[in-house]
Amino acid sequence: MLLAQLGAYVEFTIADALQFHNNSGQSITPLHDANGALAYWIVDSARVGSTAELLSTPRPEHESAAGTCLVPYLGARYVNRLTDAQDLRRLVLDAFMGRCAIKPQGSEVRPGIWIDKGVHLHKTARLVAPVYVGHHSTIERSVLLTRFSNLERHCRVGEGSVVSHTSVLPHTLIGKGLDISSAMVNGSNLVDFRRNLTLDICDRTLIAQSAFRAWRVPTHRRRQEEPDRKHPQTDVEYSQYLARAAGRLLEAFKGEA
């Protein structure tokens, strides 16, 4: 039985690990890398004495609950602990560069450019390899999506924006005319890797979570999170409305000026 705690991304050969486990003669074999435990265990359920022993997490000093020393398996090919945004970004880069087994989904429409199904790509947008565009994402006019950027599912990049060395997580809207570089964007959160800071941007004309994702949040919870928000329209629509209104006013008062 393989027991894994959600967290680290680990690639290893199961047959090799099982062989090691059998040879070691221990009931539980933890997986480790050079930096320590990976929260993956190979458990021989037939040889585990009790449920308590099975459920007790082996200690970092390689000891089982019974106090016996556990020999860890150290044969993982690739390990990413995914503890923060930087780790996730590194996983994306490693996937593009073939350092791990993850392959971009969708079809490789040109060498190094992967596009998944249902993508709306404007003909004037430029994609510079390697990039990935997830399913049902929209890339508007004159967008530049370049070098090791990945746009996950149901995202939208507004007209004229540049996305470079950036991971855009699912259901994220990126506004018009922006230049996002060396970052990770998740809804209204932006992690800037160069400056090592995280921003929560409230202006929905810049970055925001898509309506689809918001729809999945239970209504009562949404009300709690946004008590002052009375109108469901996004600020993008509001600002466009204002611009149109200002234009009409100018026309109306032109004669009087």
Binding site: Q86, L93, G112, V128, R147, S164, F193
Partner: protein, 126 residues
């Protein structure tokens, strides 16, 4: 992904005086359906605004006909100019023409010159 494409490699001119001649020579290729071009910067040590403009014009023409333009053997001084003008992000840049030609047929992340990418990667590690 492997495809059969004919790729045109052209030596990028060293100075402003040659730009017009270069563009004139290139025009027949740019008018082709799907022009796949590589500009060899092996002998170029400096690029001015007209050169950048020429690059952009060629890229625009290539894209218009469903082709692409890639750069090869870009010196560090030219690379700096391209980065300053942020034009570098528009192109795939390779260490040599062979890698650039190969990139039209199959993707190899290792072949891409990754000055900025590797810097970003190292930055992530620390």
């Amino acid at each position: 992904m492997t495809t059969g494409k004919s790729v045109i490699v052209k030596q990028f001119p060293c100075g402003f005086n040659d730009y017009e001649r270069f563009l004139h020579e290139l025009e027949p290729y740019l008018e082709h359906d799907r022009p796949f071009l590589v500009f060899d910067f092996g002998e170029v040590t400096y690029i001015d605004s007209a050169g950048v403009d020429l690059l952009l014009s060629c890229m625009e023409a290539a894209i218009k006909n469903n082709g692409d333009l890639k750069l090869a053997s870009v010196s560090s001084s030219v690379q700096v100019m391209l980065e300053m003008t942020r034009v570098d992000r528009l192109f795939e840049i390779f260490d040599n023409c062979t890698d650039a030609i190969e990139s039209f047929h199959s993707f190899s992340a290792r072949a891409i010159r990754q000055i900025e990418s590797l810097a970003a990667y190292k930055q992530l590690k620390h």
